[in-house]
Amino acid sequence: MAEHAGSRIGQIILGIIVLLLSMPLLVMYIWLVESAFSQITYGIIPQGFTLSNWRFLWEGFTNMPSIWRITWNTLVFAVVVATIEVFIASLTGYALSRMKFPGRRMFLSLTLVLHAFPAVTLLIAIFYVLLVLGLYDTLVGVIMVKAALELPLGVWIMKGFFDNISWDMEMSALIDGCSRLRTWWEILLPNIRPGIAALSIFAFLSGWSEFLLPYIYTSSFENFTLSVLLRRLVGDFRFVDYGLLTATGLYYMMPVLLFFIFTQEYLLNIYAGGTKGTTV
């Protein structure tokens, strides 16, 4: 009995510590939500409930494209990046997991190095490339850059999932009459569905929250994404409307939050089981 009580006290103390540690984060989010719905806040004390911070939804921003256009851009950006990444990574992952070819190890190591490479150091070089290709200030250009930078991780993750599928099943399909490509499509892909789901979500979230690349490689209003818009709202030569800023921020966050709630199970695959048994 005493032991039981002791463990309960321990748990309570642990709970308090966790709460304290996460307090800063919590307070930030609380403030974000409050501020989006109030005229003004004193610290975290809100004053005057209002929806006027949300007027951008129907009135738009001054000197900027409509919020719907920007949301659409962001959505297109995230979805296309995710699609490209999953498609290429599942083919590359298959090849790396299943085929022997000269330079395979080298390729794998390079991929890992690329993943560890800070993208910022590439900014100027990529800028020139985009400029030469005529893709500067286009969504297509930014999408390609983002997908390329995300691919190394994606390839490794997919390779891990393929590694976990038995060779027997693949051989069996080949003997049953499949070509290699068909085996990949009909036998292997359905069996790594959790992996594909996880990588898609991962890539989508990463695309949705990407700021640096669209900010640097686009300049026109019609190519804005939500993250760039947020940056504009705290622009250097403006009076910052915190109500508007937090409302937009909340708007930006909402889809991701909802998305995450419904898909976190899949997302855990990547960290928990997905890359298990990965070998070079």
């Binding site: 038995s166 027997d168 099943m169 051989m171 069996s172 399909a173 080949l174 003997i175 049953d176 009459g177 499949c178 070509s179 068909r182 036998i187 359905p190 069996n191 569905r193």
Partner: protein
């Protein structure tokens, strides 16, 4: 379909998995590839399936050279140890998958699938998924899938190893019967010699990628051509004793530490004509030794292992060599007891210790 392997070899880098293997398998024959793990039997099977490309040599299916033919164009059925069912498909979809790829019309497909599923007694499981089946049922589905396309050749890769002992016995009988009825040339990889002995028409024994013997179970058991085959086939394994072979008064005498026997005339003549030196290895199976007060060998009971119907006695010879002896239970001897052993001399085997070849059967 007749299958011929001509001087087949497979190298993985510097590792030689299969070395100069020549096998001629008759149409409708059931051949087992038997050997310890790493002997190259699965590699051979995968070359037959078309998964591995041979490094050297030729594979003939009938009069067709298939070295460069893709697996899908070989018309073979294969059953794997892991069953290798497609987990995302139902039993029906699994079985009909090969037909779907051949673009067989729907009705024909359904009819064929049902026929083969009924044959395998899984007709009532068509809507299940593999995960909902027991190991035995999964193996039946795998068999059905291999059979449904009416293959010219059936390949088995240790198909029974994942089943429990009792089920293994049942399936062993069923596969043998099935193969007999359908008359499909079958090649069966196993490391279990009992499986090979009971099922196969002929057994190819492999070691380190080389063919040791290719013969009927009876011949492998009674007339092993070399030491490896003699020791590998049979359970409990054959006893080997170092001895000297000499001719005395026209008789062949085998003499070792603590025993001296005279070989039957025909065996003795063969051995003497083959032997190149006095040293030989004398082999005798545990089931060919009896407890007998008049026996020519004296030994001490070291361990008794009851096997149910029989007991395996480990007997220690004066020089410390252990000799397995299989006797019907109810013999009444105890550990530590001194006994005399009688060899059934017409079952004697003799090998050259250097070449490891039999002195009787080559």
């Amino acid at each position: 379909m007749e299958v011929r392997l001509e001087r087949l070899s497979k190298h993985f880098g510097s590792v030689v998995a299969v070395d100069d293997l020549t096998l001629h398998i008759k149409s409708g024959e059931f051949v087992a590839l038997l050997g310890p793990s790493g002997c190259g039997k699965t590699t051979t099977l995968l070359m037959l399936a078309g998964i591995y490309r041979p490094t050297g040599g030729e594979i003939w299916f009938g009069d067709r050279l298939v070295n460069d033919v893709l697996p899908k164009d070989r018309n073979i059925g294969m059953v794997f140890q892991s069953y290798a069912l497609y987990p995302h498909m139902t039993v029906f979809e699994n079985i009909t998958f090969p037909l779907k790829l051949k673009k067989v019309p729907k009705e024909v497909m359904r009819e064929k699938a049902q026929r083969v599923a009924d044959m395998m007694q899984i007709g009532h499981l068509m809507d299940r998924r593999p995960a909902q089946l027991s190991g035995g049922q999964q193996q039946r589905v795998a068999l059905a899938r291999a059979l449904v396309k009416e293959p010219d050749i059936l390949l088995f890769d240790e198909p029974l190893s994942n089943l429990d002992a009792k089920l293994r016995l049942t399936m062993r009988g069923e596969i043998k019967r099935l193969q007999h009825d359908l008359d499909i040339t079958s090649i069966y990889v196993t490391h279990d010699q009992v499986e090979a002995m009971t099922m196969a028409d002929r057994i190819a024994v492999l070691r380190d990628g080389r063919l040791q013997a290719f013969a009927t179970p009876d011949e492998l058991y009674n007339r092993p051509r070399n030491l490896f085959v003699a020791g590998f086939i049979g359970s409990p394994p054959m006893n080997f004793l170092n001895a000297r072979l000499t001719a005395q008064n026209g008789q062949a005498i085998v003499e070792g530490n603590g025993f001296r026997i005279t070989l039957p005339e025909d065996l003795g003549r063969k051995a003497l004509s083959q032997a190149q030196r006095e040293e030989v290895i004398y082999g005798i199976r545990p089931e060919h030794i009896r407890l007998d007060p008049d026996g020519e060998v004296e030994a001490e009971i070291y361990v008794i292992e009851p096997l149910g119907r029989e007991d395996l006695l480990d007997c220690r010879l004066p020089d410390g060599t252990l000799l397995g002896v299989l006797v019907p239970s109810g013999h009444g001897v105890k550990i530590g007891e001194k006994v005399r052993l009688k060899f059934q001399l017409d079952h004697s085997q003799l090998f050259d210790p250097h070449t490891e070849q039999s002195l009787l059967w080559n």
